[in-house]
């Protein structure tokens, strides 16, 4: 009990009560600085293949020779197929797959996103592992159109050639599924969701038909993205795309295997986040890290592989970039070797990391190294929330409150006589006294703001695409006016007290802190980015009213220019507050990445309604309410008393 007794005496210490803002600021500074030390050699690690069974690059690859002739023919064939209509295309693709000797099926799907119908059909073929027992399968994917919307001529032709080549081997311990989705987002999503369900329910936004042919549990998926026309084009590097929906990542072993096979066995350089020239310097590592954090925090699909990751199917996309001397056969051999490695797996990929930040194709920081950054940021809100809670429980004793500014700096503490039994002591008089907390109004306000957050969430994800920018403008205008209006209403109508404002802020920050801490374990980057953007909310205190006291440090100057100073502080706070508002940040992002606002909103709506991306939920239902409550506190003028 000694510790608790000591803590109990400590909790009345004035130092402890003044510490939280500094502690909070320290958390934020350390949290942000933490990310900057990750690229250093001491805080990141070289990647390594953890699963012994994979044996990357240990097999001799035979893909080559006359297969090149077949590849050229398939590429021409794909080009010819691209010239015909949609239905003819499906039939032609099915025909090619059937000639290769696969079991062929097609899956039509339809999604309704932002008032628009997206229709398409996936074609896929199943290569039964001759000696496999149908319990496991791996997916070789070549989307008809890649993520940028180009027709994936060479990627598809290569996948077809590989399927024909794989058919001759009897070594496969898993079935191989050759999947040709119509596009790179909806198609894979429709296919993988139907693969894991009996008869998918038809809803207003999705109508996905079930798959007539299935194999066993999917072990891994590899997508090829090589959108080069019928006459070919050589490439320089393989860009490995690995981000899944909501920042979920495939097992690091799959990525490592791809890198090990490509660079170690085939001599093809690998890049991450299209960092084509990576000198492995601090600066380049930091750029890669930043790109990774931005991509992960967006939570959107980055390629055809993304849809697989939420289903616990490790998936990557191999995308060819640059212009140098590697040809399609090198990519083919890489894929062959990669599939041989996956085929070696005895268990589902589980050995290596699922949470990592890549700094280079062969360097990473593991969760233990980077998680504290987001946790500290989330912690800063909790610290402030606790401090506000403690403060709200102690109301200043009337006599000690000095109205009209502090005139004397060296005030002697008032003393009083305390008697316990026979002992008599002179102790400093308490400047505060415990008070009952009135929590109904603050809780109601916080709850109401959170409920209100579903309005922007709904309208920005469900309206027709042409109204989306208007909806964001409306949301921006409402958001900016809402805090001031609400605080006026609260002070005028409900006579909200200073204590209630503190409790309200405390509730809101507590929610924000815990939400972000929990989110950090799922999607580190999103929690980190939202944490940084929301960090000023820890320091929001009511703006001083016209009669409020000025800090004594300002001294004489402060007294003379009181009005000017107050206006300046108020203006600065309001500008900073507005700048960190969710809608303004969205506009800023669009401006920075020079993207169309409508396009960004459409992407977000797509992600939300088709793939279950929860980024907009975090923005509107976690960050936005905290921001509004902060604003209410800011403009409340300190409340009554």
């Amino acid at each position: 009990m000694a510790l608790s007794a000591r803590l109990l005496t400590l909790r009345n210490s004035p130092v402890l009560l003044k510490l939280p803002p500094y502690l909070s600021a320290l958390c934020i500074v350390i949290g942000i600085a933490w990310l900057f030390i990750l690229p250093l050699n001491e805080y990141s690690r070289q990647t390594y293949v953890s699963e012994n069974a994979i044996l990357p690059g240990q097999v001799h690859t035979y893909f080559g020779g006359s297969e090149h002739n077949v590849f050229r023919a398939y590429r021409q064939e794909v080009y010819q197929i691209s010239q015909v209509s949609e239905t003819d295309r499906l039939a032609a693709l099915e025909n090619v797959l059937r000639e290769i000797g696969l079991k062929v099926a097609a899956q039509p799907y339809r999604f309704t996103v932002a008032g628009e119908d997206v229709e398409g059909a996936n074609v896929y073929g199943l290569l039964r592992g001759p000696r496999a027992d149908a319990t496991e399968a791996m997916v070789l994917m070549a989307a008809w159109r890649n993520f940028e919307g180009e027709i994936n001529y060479s990627g598809l032709a290569l996948a077809l050639t590989l399927a024909r080549y794989f058919k001759r081997w009897s070594i496969w311990s898993k079935d191989i599924i050759l999947l040709i989705p119509a596009d790179s987002t909806y198609g894979p999503e429709a296919w993988v969701s139907a693969y894991h369900s009996t008869a998918p329910d038809i809803t207003a936004t999705r109508n996905v038909s079930s798959l007539p042919i299935k194999a066993g549990a999917l072990q891994a998926a590899v997508a090829l993205d090589y959108p080069v026309g019928p006459w070919g084009h050589r490439f320089d590097k393989l860009d490995i795309l690995y981000d899944g929906i909501n920042g979920a990542l495939p097992n690091l072993d799959l990525l490592n295997t791809a890198v090990a096979v490509a660079s170690g066995q085939m001599g093809i350089g690998c890049s991450i986040h299209s960092m084509l020239s990576h000198s492995d310097s601090y600066r380049d590592r930091l750029t890669t890290l930043a790109k990774g954090v931005v991509t992960q925090s967006a939570g959107q699909a980055t390629g055809p592989h993304s849809a697989f990751v939420p289903y616990h199917v490790d998936a990557i996309t191999l995308k060819t970039v640059g212009d140098a001397w590697h040809d399609e056969m090198s990519l083919g051999r890489t894929t062959e070797s990669l599939f041989r490695s996956i085929n070696n797996l005895l268990e589902h990929l589980h050995q290596s990391f699922f949470f990592y930040i890549l700094l280079n194709a062969n360097r990473f920081a593991s969760i233990g190294n980077y998680l504290p950054a987001a946790m500290l940021l989330a912690g800063s809100f909790t610290v402030t929330a606790l401090a506000l809670w403690v403060q709200s429980g102690q109301v200043a004793v009337q006599s000690a409150t000095k109205i009209g500014g502090t005139e004397t700096r060296d005030v002697q503490p008032e003393l009083e006589v305390a008697k316990i039994g026979d002992a008599v002591a002179l102790v400093p008089a308490a400047t505060t006294k415990p008070a009952e907390r009135e929590m109904l109004l603050p809780a109601a306000v916080v709850l109401a703001v959170h409920l209100a957050s579903f309005l922007p969430l709904y309208s920005l994800n469900s309206l027709h695409r042409q109204y989306l920018p208007t909806a964001l403008q409306a949301t921006t205008a409402t958001s900016l006016l809402l805090p001031a209006l609400t605080s006026t209403a609260l002070t005028r109508r409900f006579k909200i007290s200073k204590q209630q404002i503190q409790i309200m802020q405390s509730f809101s920050l507590l929610l924000l802190g815990t939400s972000l801490a929990r989110l950090a374990t799922l999607n580190f980057s999103l929690a980190f980015v939202v944490g940084v953007l929301a960090s000023p909310l820890s320091f929001v205190r009511p703006l001083p009213g016209p009669t409020a006291a000025l800090p004594t440090v300002l001294g004489k100057v402060g007294r003379e220019y009181r009005y000017g100073l107050q206006v300046t502080i108020g203006l600065a706070a309001t500008v900073l507050y507005t700048a960190t508002s969710p809608p303004v940040v969205l506009y800023a992002l669009c401006w920075y990445f020079s993207q169309d606002v409508g396009g960004l909103l459409l992407e977000m709506a797509k992600g939300w309604s088709v793939q279950g991306v929860y980024t907009s939920f975090v923005i509107w239902a976690v960050w936005w309410p905290a921001w509004v409550v902060g604003g209410i506190a800011l403009f409340s003028g300190g409340g009554q008393r």
Binding site: L8, R11, Y62, Y165, W169, E347
Partner: protein, 638 residues
């Protein structure tokens, strides 16, 4: 009616080999579409029951005979299987699926039921353990959790004394067992010629286990003929489907390298055809093959050991126009169609020739190969993802114009916990997609729920599949969490779930459709992989758990101290209930014991009234968190 048919079944099987010699062997060859070859080996040996009782064995394997006798086994069926039968392109299954097992090892046997359940289990255990040693398979892992007692799915094939009374059927599967050479060798050892002569000389592990589908079976049963002594018969079969192209690769270079450019067969009709661009041409016609190239060796000698064995050793089911050459000990002759059947050509191995080989050239045959449609198509999948719940989804498709009655048997491991109230059997016609699905009511249902770590689930349904329709059978299940010692070394692979066994019952004879079968047939789905919640058996996991616990403890107590308000015990207003309870307790005590002791109001009042109380007295907690350690002392620290 049905029973009569089933009793007639062994008789019909036997009639094929009437006037049975004590040992005979047979190989059936049939090319399948898309360059595959089916080869079915059958070895039948028998011994009279009196000889068996006196342990006098000639062609019947002694090692097996002794095991059967020791364990009181009346009829035994043992299966080793690998791969899948592709019934969409290969048609119906050989031997009606009766000599076929699910992936892995499957065993069912009728045992003497004397001595009650424990005695039967003892015999079963003794049987599987002995067979485990004999066949180098993990059969000894078939324990209570993997054993079921099917009711409708199996009928005894043999003729048993007393009409099949006094015996009990037990069935066990090992879906994860990988069948390989070590199982084939003891299998061949049971044969009189031990794989050295006759058709069994073709059975080489390299080829058998490179097959796309292979199943080995051993069936022991008593057979009786009128006016003869009953005999105990053992049938050993090996059915394989080989990829002709793959099997013909030379043994010293089995790697399917890309062919030289000159050997590519290109489709020259393509507009882009050029010297460096080659669209592969579709293969046409029947491939050329020969026994020696496919099996790596010709048939060595013959194995005509038993008296009266006059039957043909090899039969070849090919089109009438196909040229077939037989190379027997240096003489080369053309094999012609045999007897009443136009499609089957038979050959008897010469006892003098050292080698016999059959070869067929490449040929384009106009006539489409005769193929029988399978009675039913079945597939079974696990749906859902994640580690908590899943669903089973079985699709049964009846392509015929008449309804079929089937028995659907599932034996599930105990850690898969099905919810039978979610069992749905829906049927929808294949011909029109727009019609809504109609529920199918099972005619009969046998269900034995699982007991954790003791027995698995046994589910048997008697269903009628309407004509030309698809029946979907679904149910949901939970995945159990195992104890950490119960996980196998490859815990993250998942756990194998045994295939479902489907018995298609023969249609009633009064229905008039033409080419109906009079015997039942079997088919099995593929086995499944069930991912269970698996703990992370690694160090970081333990570190995370430990750190989180420490942080939670530290945070909890410090937070509690910070936000709790402490007041003196005297200041706590006593709750009315507590006062009342204390009063009652005091009264009772006064009445009962007449104790003069001081009433401990605080303690009892707290316990009864629900006021939060610290160790040193009463400390009311107001507006604070009521969690963590509530043991702070009730002193006012001021």
């Amino acid at each position: 009616m049905k029973l009569a048919q089933l009793l007639a079944l062994p008789a019909t099987l036997i009639s094929a080999v009437l006037a049975i010699p004590e040992y005979s062997e047979h190989l059936h060859l049939r090319p399948l579409p898309n360059g595959y070859l089916y080869a079915g080996f059958n070895f039948t040996a028998s011994t009279s029951l009196s000889a068996y009782e006196s342990q006098h064995f000639r062609y019947f394997p002694r090692s097996l005979g002794q095991i059967l006798k020791h364990s009181g086994t009346r009829e035994l069926h043992l299966r080793f299987a690998l791969g899948r039968w592709d019934d969409e392109s290969w048609g119906s299954r050989p031997r009606d699926g009766k000599r076929e097992g699910g992936t892995g090892v499957e065993i069912w046997a009728w045992l003497d039921s004397g001595g009650g359940k424990p005695a039967v289990e003892e015999r079963w255990s003794s049987l599987v353990n002995s067979l485990s040693g004999l066949f180098c398979a993990s059969l000894n892992f078939i324990d209570g959790t993997k054993t079921t007692r099917p009711v409708l799915s199996f009928e005894p094939e043999g003729m048993h004394r007393g009409g099949g009374g006094g015996m009990e059927l037990l069935h066990g599967t090992l879906p994860h067992e990988v069948v390989c050479t070590e199982n084939l060798t003891p299998f061949l050892k049971l044969l009189p010629c031990k794989g050295k002569a006759g058709i069994s000389s073709l059975l080489d592990g390299h080829k058998v286990f490179d097959a796309n589908w292979q199943t080995m079976s051993i069936d022991v049963r008593p057979v009786c003929h009128v006016g003869e002594e009953c005999r105990l018969e053992i049938q050993q079969t090996v059915d394989i489907v080989l990829d002709i192209e793959r099997s013909m690769r030379p043994r010293n270079d089995p790697i399917p390298r890309p062919r030289p450019v000159e050997e590519l067969e290109c489709d020259e009709s393509k507009s882009y055809h050029a010297s460096d661009t080659c669209y592969p041409r579709r293969k046409e016609g029947e491939m050329a093959w020969s026994l020696s190239k496919i099996f790596g060796t010709p048939v060595r000698g013959s194995c005509h050991v038993a008296d009266g064995d006059e039957s043909h050793d090899i039969s070849l089911e090919v089109s009438r126009d196909r040229a077939v050459e037989v190379l027997q000990g240096g003489s080369n002759e053309t094999l012609v169609s045999h007897g009443q059947s136009q499609h089957v050509r038979a050959i008897r191995l010469s006892d003098t020739a050292k080698h016999t080989d059959i070869s067929l050239p490449q040929q384009i045959i106009q006539e489409a190969p005769h193929q029988e449609q399978p009675p039913l198509y079945a597939s079974r999948q696990i749906t859902g993802f994640g580690q908590e719940r899943g669903g089973m989804h079985t699709v049964l498709h009846n392509p015929h114009t008449y309804p079929q009655r089937i028995v659907y048997l599932e034996s599930l491991p105990w850690f898969l916990r099905p919810y039978m109230h979610t069992l749905k059997v829906l049927s929808h016609p294949t011909t029109s997609h727009n019609q809504p699905a109609t529920p199918v009511k099972p005619d009969k249902m046998f269900y034995t729920p699982a007991l954790d770590r003791e027995r698995g689930t046994h589910l048997e349904l008697l269903l009628t599949i309407p004509a030309q329709s698809t029946v979907e059978l679904t149910y949901d299940f939970d995945k159990a969490i195992l104890r950490y010692t119960e996980y196998p070394p490859d815990a993250n692979r998942g756990f194998d779930v045994a295939p479902a066994i489907i018995r298609v019952l023969p249609p009633n004879s009064n229905s008039t459709a033409g080419n109906e079968k009079t015997q039942d047939s079997y088919l099995r789905t593929t086995s499944l992989l069930l991912p269970l919640p698996t703990p992370d058996f690694s160090m970081p996991y333990n570190v995370i758990i430990l750190t989180s616990t420490v942080i939670a403890l530290g945070f909890g107590s410090i937070f509690n101290l910070l936000v709790r308000r402490f007041v003196l015990a005297e200041e706590v207003p006593r709750s009315a209930v507590a006062v009342r309870v204390a009063w009652v307790v005091g009264k009772v005590r006064g009445v009962v014991g007449g104790l003069k002791g001081r009433m401990r109001v605080g303690g009892e009042g707290g316990g009864g009234g629900g006021t939060v109380v610290g160790f040193g007295g009463a400390a009311d907690v107001r507006g604070g968190m009521n969690g963590g350690s509530g043991g702070a002392e009730g002193r006012k620290e001021r």
